[in-house]
């Protein structure tokens, strides 16, 4: 272990006899959610002043805007205002400012916002929006990433070179390549020369939709005093405030003028990270000062005008020696990043640093190219690039093992990365239980034991794949927490991470509970309001348990120290002799002493002379990794330390495949993840079950279909359907592995995204095992399997 990734490890915590951490405490938001008390943005009442907006959308994937005529819409009774790009000529973007609030001179995808109608009710707004006339000069749409980078293709963003951006983005001005992450390590040529077997192939992954059941919604209000408040269904209140402040700076706004309030959010999965449609709400509010205005996306808009998971074409070449040792890996990823990449380019970046997978690879060449196309903007989606490249990578590892005549699981044991091994970007790997994950997953699916079906049409197959993922964050992404006691000894904690459903509020309560001995039922953790709750970068990257957990632990410890201080001042006990148990302060040196927290955490401790010591107990805490750096050689990615740590694991499935229909039934799915420390095992099992199904959906059922004009053909739950309760595996086996993360709260690291990453390749492997057809394009639907079997049989 080197000290580079340790941060401020709290070794004492890891050693403690834990009371609350490690238990499956019920969710603290459970009651809100089963009673209807949970309030989401669209549930907040704004009274009769509330206005509704409807957006005028581009019907073309690529066109110049010649003329916009809003006259007829403005004349419609009940319309308050009609706005176009000319009203807000401002750029915005999280990592690169390549977007406008509304399209200005040209549109770049079907559904892009061109204008908006603000009206007294939603019916009027919708009707009037259809009266806005827009004249376009239609251009050829560029829909294919490989076509977009071929010689002579028109530039989707001619001004790419001048867009403000973060230093780790490497746009290629004068091309459609908005970012190119290159990672180089070792001698590639020698590595392939050393290999006994080299396997090369191409894998394709289409676009996917998050499908949070709550659509995006924003309510903006600029009050008469000039204060701009936004209520958003978001994963990122602080990041949104920063993006709004930057975009609206020309109107005189800065951070202090803007307030973002985010109540419960109805699912995110990355889709509500950053700023997408919320910029419209912010801008519109400035146009109708004094009136709140709501923009609520329809399900259709949810599909075509938020972030989509980017498609990718991956060329992969891996060499290995006869003994199974991988010698070299060359991975080129062409990402269909869509019309704007202000967030999506960071997905491309993350993949470009980690597309070796969790393997020890001495010679590496990765090229990850972020390519503009005239499709909806790509962006973050649970897995953040890793789900996408694992499909090809893990399919390939199985095939390479088979080519070598080595059992695919044994091949993975041989090459699995271990603590201290050098990562592709040159830093050492963190502690991990990857080998344990492999062994326990293999045992859960009886790997190596063939299975048969009674049904003559049905074949059984098995697969086992590995996964890894690191949070993709700016090097200084940080978290903070405030904690206060109440008169009855209960606690309020404010943080600005989002409860997306993962159980974050409960986990934060457990962390504080462990430190302060107050049960989670007496701890409220409040959803964000940027005026009141302290800073959090974003709730993405599976990092909040780790990062914000550290901040909450620090706040709790600060409060605990203050408690000890006041008890010392009042009663004279040495602070290091005091401890907390059952909501009381107790003392090692005086077994008779015990002081309930409720007796003094607000009122203080009364002295013999009637005076008091102490006062309200509050704590604050923060966490920022202080060992990361995004500065590296742009040609090799060596020299920096971009990732804090990786969470690793394995997934295995047993499937039934009907040879005639191609239908796949997952009999059993097992997933092992090394979570460092399971603060709440029940919630982790929830992540495994839900994430696995979301991952299985991407491979078994879903994909976004576009026509030749770039129009999305399935923007509804009728035809972009997600699994129902009848489409779950017959059995899911969650396996929790705990090799502590030295700088995590009680040793914890994140696990939210990881549970869906291996689902696609493990199905590809199991289908190949069952019926002998290897599919290299996602999704692997019943239809594709059946047709592939027919083709293999020469029909």
């Amino acid at each position: 272990m080197t000290d580079t990734y340790v941060g401020k490890a709290d070794a004492a915590n890891a050693m403690e006899d834990l009371q609350v951490v490690g238990t499956g405490a019920p969710r603290i938001d459970g009651l809100d959610k089963v009673t209807g008390a949970a309030e989401y943005v669209d549930d907040i009442d704004f009274g009769p002043a509330l206005l509704h907006a409807s957006v005028v959308e581009s019907p073309h994937a690529h066109a110049r805007i010649v003329r916009i005529d809003t006259t007829r819409a403005e004349a419609e009774p009940g319309v308050v205002k009609v706005v176009t790009g000319a009203d807000f000529p401002f750029t915005f973007g999280l990592y690169m400012q390549d977007r406008h609030v509304f399209a200005m001179d040209r549109v770049r995808f079907v559904g892009e916002q061109v204008a908006a109608v603000i009206a007294r009710n939603a019916r009027i707004a919708k009707r009037a929006a259809s009266l806005v006339e827009v004249e376009y000069e239609v251009l050829d749409p560029i829909l294919d990433p490989l076509g977009a980078i071929s010689e002579g293709t028109e530039l989707i963003h001619p001004d790419l070179g001048s867009y403000p951006r973060v230093p780790w983005f490497l746009p290629q001005a004068g091309t459609n390549i908005s970012h190119w992450r290159k990672t180089r390590r070792g001698d590639l040529e020698a590595g392939f020369a050393e290999a006994d077997v080299i396997l090369e192939d191409t894998y394709t992954v289409p676009r996917y939709a998050h499908c949070a059941i709550e659509p995006h919604v924003v309510v903006g209000r600029l009050d008469q005093a000039g204060r701009l408040t936004l209520w958003t269904a978001s994963q990122s209140p602080y990041t949104q405030r920063a993006v709004f402040a930057e975009a609206l700076a020309p109107l005189g706004f800065s951070h202090q003028d803007i307030r973002v309030i985010t109540p419960y959010v109805g699912g995110g999965f990355g889709g509500k990270a950053g700023v997408s449609m919320e910029i419209i709400g912010a801008a519109l509010a400035t146009a109708v000062k004094g009136r709140p205005v709501k923009v609520r996306w329809t399900r259709e808009q949810e599909f075509y005008n938020t972030y989509q998971r980017q498609g990718v074409v991956a060329n992969l070449k891996v060499g290995a020696r006869r003994d199974g040792t991988i010698t070299a890996l060359e991975h080129t990823l062409y990402w269909d990043a869509g019309a704007y990449v202000e967030y999506g380019a960071n997905v491309v970046n993350a993949a470009g640093l980690s597309a070796t997978g969790p393997y020890r690879v001495p010679a590496v060449k990765i090229d990850s190219l972020c390519i503009y196309t005239n499709l909806p903007p790509g962006g973050p989606y649970r897995g953040f690039g890793y789900s996408e490249f694992h499909f090809g990578l893990e399919s390939h590892m199985t095939r390479l093992a088979q080519r070598l005549g080595i059992d695919p699981v044994e091949f993975r044991r041989i090459n699995a990365i271990a603590e201290g091994d050098t990562l592709a970007y040159g830093e050492p790997m963190n502690p991990s239980g990857l080998r344990e994950a492999i062994d326990r997953t293999a045992a859960a699916i009886d790997w190596g034991t063939p299975a048969a079906s009674d049904d003559p049409n049905v074949e059984i197959g098995k697969g086992l794949c590995l996964f890894w993922k690191a949070p993709a964050m700016p090097p200084n992404a940080s978290s903070a927490s405030f904690l206060k006691f109440n008169e009855d000894g209960s606690i309020n904690i404010t943080v600005s991470g989002m409860e997306l459903g993962q159980g974050y509020l409960t986990v934060m309560a457990q962390v504080a509970s462990e430190v302060l001995s107050v049960p989670t039922a007496k701890i409220r953790v409040e959803t964000p309001d940027t005026d009141r709750n302290p800073y959090e970068w974003q709730t993405v990257a599976s990092h909040v348990t780790w990062s914000c957990g550290n901040a909450v632990a620090a706040a709790a410890k600060e409060a605990r120290d203050k408690i000890y201080q006041v008890v010392h001042d009042a009663h004279g006990y040495e602070e290091d002799s005091l401890y907390l148990e059952d909501e009381k302060v107790k003392c090692d040196t005086d077994p008779d002493f015990e002081l309930p927290l409720a007796d003094f955490v607000i009122d203080g401790i009364e002295m013999s002379d009637g005076t008091y010591r102490g006062g309200p107990i509050v704590g604050s805490g923060k966490f920022m990794p202080e060992f990361t750096s995004a500065r590296s050689d742009p040609e090799t990615s060596q020299g920096g330390h971009p990732n804090v740590h990786y969470t690793v694991g394995a997934a295995g499935v047993v499937v039934e495949v009907d040879r005639e229909t191609g239908k796949i039934r997952v009999r059993k799915a097992a997933l092992a993840a090394d979570v460092g420390r399971a603060i709440n095992p029940t919630l982790i099992e929830g992540q495994i079950t839900g994430g696995l199904l979301q991952g299985l959906a991407t491979v078994l059922y879903e994909d976004m279909r576009f026509d030749e004009q770039g129009r999305l053909l399935n923007p509804t739950f009728t035809d972009y359907k997600i699994p129902t309760s009848k489409d779950v595996p017959d059995e899911i086996v969650p396996i929790i592995i705990e090799v502590p993360q030295p700088d995590g709260p009680f040793g914890a690291r994140g696990v939210g995204e990881h549970t869906m990453i291996a689902a696609a390749p493990v199905i590809a492997d199991a289908v190949a095992d069952a019926v002998g057809v290897r599919l290299t394009d996602m999704p692997i639907t019943a239809e594709r399997v059946a047709l592939a079997i027919l083709e293999a049989n020469g029909r």
């Binding site: 919708k126 229909t661 399935n714 129902t724 489409d727 239809e783």
Partner: protein, 293 residues
């Protein structure tokens, strides 16, 4: 998103009043369960100037057996069909098909007659009623008339129900001893539209009825296949069966499936559906409701 256009809402108390309202409002649509009409209005796919809600009309919500005929009123929902003992006993294939429609919350509202009037090519009610030789009961300005289901579907979303007419129900001649099987190809085991549907009825003495859905502009019966199958054990009819399927279906490729897969699956579904229906005729086979694909 809201329904943005205005329309009148009319609620007749009886059929005569309903017909008069339709007569006065040529642009009106009949509203029963509304599970198609309401989203169509929201999508601006239809713009009726009035909707005539027939749910107050008495006598349309019953399932009645009389004179060897089962009569299903036009307000009978799919849930009603699933709960009905007489449907389960006399026309079990209809119950099996009804159980594949959408999900409980839709089936509690959506009506069989509405399914027929919407006439989407993938409707699950179509193939089932076709093999039962069902007849749609229609009332209009010229009085009541009967329309065999085989003549009901005119094209996608187009049924033989005139502008001033109301479908009041469906009648089915009770077929007596039979085995049935509705085989629905869908992407999901849960709520989904049919990529293809095959209804098979096996009657005594090796007589069969076969209908398809979602593999043509309308659901349709397949008399050539029925003739091919007649009088022989199924295993003796398998030769040439696939070719006959290919001749009668005209599947398209769309976002739900390619025509190749639809065609392949129609062959598979017919074979498996025949086997199940034949077995059910003699009290064996998979229980109704258990999908054979």
């Amino acid at each position: 998103m809201a329904i943005s256009h205005d329309f009148a809402y009319l609620r007749p108390g009886d059929l005569d009043e309903a017909l008069a309202m339709l007569d006065e409002n040529p642009g009106a649509r009949v509203l029963a369960g509304g599970t198609d009409l309401v989203p169509w209005m929201r999508d601006d796919a239809v713009f009726p100037d009035a909707v005539v809600d027939i749910k107050q009309i008495e006598g349309l919500a019953d399932i009645v057996v009389a004179d060897g005929t089962l009569r299903i009123g036009s307000l009978v929902t799919f849930s009603d069909l699933i709960r009905s003992d007489v449907v389960a006993t006399e026309v079990p294939l209809l119950a099996e098909a009804a159980a594949t429609v959408a999900s409980v919350g839709v089936r509690n509202r959506a009506t069989l007659a509405g399914n027929l009037c919407s006439a989407v090519p993938s409707c699950d009610g179509g193939p089932a009623l076709l093999v039962y030789d069902a007849v749609v009961q229609v009332t209009g300005p010229d009085g009541p008339r009967e329309a065999p289901v085989s003549e009901w579907f005119l094209g996608p979303r187009e049924a033989a129900c005139g502008p001033g007419e109301i479908a009041t129900g469906v009648t089915i001649p009770i077929p007596g001893a039979h085995g049935g099987c509705y085989v629905k190809l869908s992407r999901y085991r849960g709520e989904d539209l049919a990529q293809a549907g095959v209804a098979v009825l096996a009657l005594p003495e090796h007589r069969y009825r076969v209908a398809f859905g979602a593999v043509g502009p309308t659901p349709f019966r397949a008399p050539t296949i029925e003739t091919h199958l007649e009088g022989r054990a199924i295993e003796d009819s398998l030769d040439g069966l696939d070719e006959l399927v290919d001749e009668v279906i005209s599947p398209i490729s769309d976002v739900r499936a390619t025509k190749e897969y639809r065609a392949h699956m129609c062959r598979v579904m017919l074979r498996r559906g025949l086997a199940a229906a034949e077995a059910r005729l003699t009290g064996g086979g998979p229980p109704y409701g258990k999908q054979v694909i």
